[in-house]
Assembly symmetry: C2
Homo-oligomer: 641 residues x 2
């Protein structure tokens, strides 16, 4: 089934060096001359020298009278001097040229007009007082900007002050991006309608175009090319004619329909096929007609990271920008991060400062989870030789946000609920300087994080069947020593998910034992399963009587999909999962979702702002409008120890 | 002469609060709906929710075969299992939907084809192995982005993955910028020609437009309006109709032709006239028809700083961007910075890390020196109540560059010479990660900086008349204990500057005593004056015999201007000053310009790279081509101790 094999895999560093060594970025494109007034953000191709001095004449720096300083010497309050207007003193406004023979300006405030023709002064002026001398700011022929310098608003002003109205800048490379794949459907096509099963929205090319644009280069996205060798080849041949660099996305792997490496080899040379990085392993780097060509993997995170590692540095060099290394911090993973030896792994993490430590919580690692890049505050690179990072071991983390923001972040770890997003949104609305960062590791994971002081807050909905109560028994067991408050966020409905028209007329748990009703269950130990078993026991329903009780799924969504696809008639889950797939939701029980707030957090002004929002009508109204929630206890302290 | 007085001056903070309190940035402009594909850099107006789940079907995460996991249980190398294609196993490529009834994918590498219809496996698959489940990345109706969030390339991808093809973003405010002033000449007008004396290139409006654009707002620059009240009033009235904010530049002071405050008061309300800041004191903040109007001072640094303090925060709020405070460092001024009490002063400084200290060297403080903003690495704000900052006292400094760059900066302090710019340029060309920052405080200032370990290098051309030699006597006196090397940068010509056609036929010092020849002299103590006096003594010329010997100027350029304007027939100076004003330059003597390199610097790898450039043919050739320089000793060690 394999059509060809990877070249010997390269490390990220080897691959980057090999790719860059084939191009001289300083001569890759000829510079272009543009108007200075349109040069904001462009990069100088050569040093730029002043054409004029600034000022180009001695000019008044204040409103007042220009005089020859020598004439004023000796004036004092006791012995004022009179100056004749038009001969010894000349009215000037700021910026006016000094009349010939004058070399100082007396401020208007310090002058007493005597009559139409005479002024009186009570202090002498020193030579060049309140005068901007020729070349004070810029001297003609002096360098205004060195080469490879970005034209900032201030630089633009300085260039114009120096009479430089046109300048040579680095040309912006045109990057042609070719999406390939039979399964793809363009954004334009889905504009209104649905996406058919088996088809995937083509968004990688637009993401790569945006990354290209952000660097200052000129992206050009081509129409989707189907997985046919001849068509990909033709598209590449055309693209190298028109662009300065080509990115083919994807077909870079070794599957039956992965032609990218083949066509690059046919038209030019493949330098790298396979990099010891994850995500991003099937990256291809090549040259066709002297132009860089990149085969980007198809998963969005892979495509983004291989762009980041290989395309961005080369494009930056061509643009004359020095891409400084990202700032780093020493962060401690909130949990162990295992990693496959042999591949350098790029772990996306959220970051927050808890006490004196910067805690890193890994985001989902799949190459398909683009949200992991959206939510990432940092990147931990685990070397190929390593098998992972232990929890709480300090590890170098590349920052993707400004370091100042880490101080302004409240970290909540635990079970996820959509109302946390509402909370984050309202916090942002009312306190734009604060940030709520949430990591989703389940309720127990949240309590363990608090145990180890890895989070400011825990999000928790743990039902205890023995006492029939929420959260407190678990806190007493796991956090017996920690002074804390338990503050309710919401009560959340769990319910039965069924098809929209509810063909089996299911109304509650008792309907699950009816013949012909197929159930889809959650795995043992999950909150939803504990709740189900408790409710069944309360109702005296025997689990064995329920068809499908033994078949376990690990997420709300998997259960919902089973219902939607007809594999099951009902499943227990939260309203959000039902809504996501357009299922009917029949609430059967509510569970309590609380925030666990250690006293140290409670005393923190940042938390007080958050609490004020939780208690606000705005929060309660917004949450109530989502459906599936009850806010009767929202903001209330349910327990403290 | 004053037409009106300032309102009671406000502090920066008071003025900003007063201005912002008049507008609700969240409702100032209605949001607009745009295509997600065009949303890069825009800011969400409301939270954005997923329209579709991603993936929206269970899909293969690997190339291989889709199977029902249960069927594969028990397979091992010893007891392989056979699966029938099309019934028990289905070939899939990454991204394909799982056929009905399957819940796992076996990678193609782990499958042994037996015949056309059968494959063999040697290990079991676990449920959902190599499968991307529905909603794994995004669940429909879940929040993708909160409000007030910038659309990054990754966010753009996530939105499209979630089927969000249009979204509501904050509208970009239109900012109308009106340049005013009789003395102004537009950039278009000077394109080719010269700038007449008394006229000034109007570049502030383009700088303000660039600053506006950088924030994400839409600038619109109007033609220059002359200093006439009715015309300014008409321009403002029109601008508030068409824009969301108006900036009038300038006429904000209290001079005879400063009408800005008047016309704002006539058409609306003046909130602030006069802020206790320097530069930027004559700032006006007002409201006309519910729209913010700003009167910016005319000096470029004032205009930039008042934009930075008042326009930028308001525009950022309207754009929904939280402008985080600039990062700060504790820096130590390399020299005392006196400041006027009563005004908060914004000192532009260059920064560099010398040893463990970050040294701040003040740049020229005039509000007209736009280059001080171009060159600034940081901003020291001296409170109104303070009379300045002592040298080497730690002071909070707002960073204008990335903190990492401070580690990569070589700091040279001393006398300026244009060849230092060449050096900085070549360093940038060959080592884009390194930076040479130079501060110009004169040769002696440079030696004192080294004495106090405030710089890596000193730039020095001190002639000692007693020994007739350069630099070494001064080093022995000022730095007797410091192990160092003296490395020559260049020999520099000083010469007589005369009009281009040299009407008085001046060839050398002896011509200065001819009757009818007027000389322009430099001040006592300056290097040029020491050189002149030494040369005159050598030649046996009596200073008193030279007309104009007593009239002193403080800069090369002031002397050159005297020659150009006819006030003098000749002056002694460097070739760059003569070239700047198109004067003829008659070399009469060379002086030695050396770098003073302490051993600690010499041992530093960064200096070694700089030295390699100084010694390179490229540097010597470039310097020689400038004229007025001799590179015979360039790079050579002239002395060490």
């Amino acid at each position: 089934m394999k059509r060809h094999i990877y070249l010997k895999m390269k490390t990220v560093e080897e691959a980057r060096q090999l790719f860059r060594s084939r191009f001289d970025p300083d001569t890759f494109l000829p510079p272009e001359e543009i108007l200075t007034s349109a040069a904001l953000g462009r990069v100088t191709a050569v040093p730029v020298f002043a054409r004029l001095s600034s000022p180009h004449y001695h000019s008044a720096a204040m409103d007042g009278y220009a005089v020859a300083a020598e004439v004023t010497f000796g004036a004092s309050q006791d012995r004022p001097k009179l100056l004749e207007l038009g001969r010894q003193a000349f009215p000037v406004n700021t910026g006016n040229p000094l009349p010939s023979g004058t070399n100082a300006v007396i401020m208007v405030e310090n002058v007493h007009p005597r009559d139409e023709a005479t002024i009186q002064i009570e202090a002498g002026a020193y030579p060049w007082q309140h005068v901007r001398k020729v070349g004070e700011d810029l001297v003609a022929h002096e360098m205004v900007l060195p080469e490879k310098t970005e034209v900032t608003p201030y630089a633009l002003a300085a260039l114009l002050a120096a009479g430089v109205t046109r300048l040579l800048v680095r040309r912006r490379p045109r990057v042609v991006i070719i999406p390939t794949g039979d399964e793809l459907i363009s954004v334009a096509e889905i504009e209104a309608g649905e996406v058919p099963p088996g088809r995937v929205i083509e968004f990688n090319s637009l993401m790569l175009a945006a990354l290209t644009e952000q660097l200052g280069a000129l992206p050009e996205v081509r129409p989707i090319v189907p997985d046919r060798r001849q068509e990909i080849r033709a598209a590449l041949a055309e693209a190298v004619q028109q662009g300065d660099m080509v990115i083919i996305n994807a077909g870079s792997s070794a599957g039956t329909e992965d032609y990218t490496a083949q066509v690059i080899a046919e038209l030019g040379e493949v330098l790298v096929h396979g990099v010891t990085m994850m995500p991003g392993k099937p990256t291809i780097l090549g040259v066709v007609q002297g132009k860089p060509v990149m085969g980007n993997p198809g998963y969005p995170v892979s495509a983004a990271l291989s762009f980041d590692q290989f395309a961005a540095p080369l494009l930056s060099d061509i643009l004359g920008r020095h891409l400084p290394p990202r700032p780093t911090v020493a962060a401690q993973p909130a949990q162990k991060i295992p990693s496959k030896a042999g591949l350098e792994e790029f772990i996306r993490v959220t970051l927050g400062k808890v006490g004196e430590r910067i805690m890193a919580t890994p985001l989902p690692r799949g190459a398909g989870t683009i949200t992991s890049l959206v939510r990432a505050d940092g990147l931990i690179r685990i070397p190929a030789a390593s098998e992972g990072v232990e929890a709480e071991k300090s590890v170098l983390t590349e920052l993707l946000l400004s370091p100042e923001l880490l101080e302004q972040t409240l970290v909540v770890i635990g079970s996820h609920d959509n109302t946390l997003d509402v909370l984050a949104t309202l916090l942002r609305r009312h306190h734009p300087d604060l940030r709520l960062s949430s990591a989703h590791v389940g309720s127990t994971g949240g309590l363990l994080a608090l145990q180890n002081h890895r989070a400011h807050l825990g999000g928790c909905h743990l039902f205890d069947p023995e006492t029939g109560s929420y959260n407190v028994p678990y806190i007493k067991r796991l956090l017996p020593e920690l002074p804390l408050k338990l503050i309710n966020l919401v009560h959340r409905a769990q319910g039965l998910m069924v098809l929209p028209d509810n063909p089996k007329r299911i109304q509650g748990f008792q309907d699950l034992i009816r013949p012909g009703v197929q159930f889809s269950n959650r795995q043992r130990g999950s909150g939803t399963r504990i709740l189900l078993d408790y409710q069944l026991a309360q109702l005296g329903i025997k689990p064995q009587a329920i068809q499908g009780y033994q078949q376990e799924e690990y997420t709300h969504m998997a259960v919902a999909v089973n219902v939607l696809s007809g594999a099951a008639d009902a499943g227990l889950g939260i309203m959000a999962a039902a809504r996501a797939l357009g299922l009917k939701f029949i609430p059967v029980v509510t569970e309590r979702y609380d925030l666990v707030v250690p006293e140290t957090t409670f005393a923190d002004g940042r938390f007080q702002k958050l609490w004020a929002i939780i208690c606000s009508e705005e929060f309660k109204t917004t949450v109530a409008a989502m459906g599936g929630y009850d806010t009767r206890d929202t903001g209330a302290v349910m327990y403290e120890q």
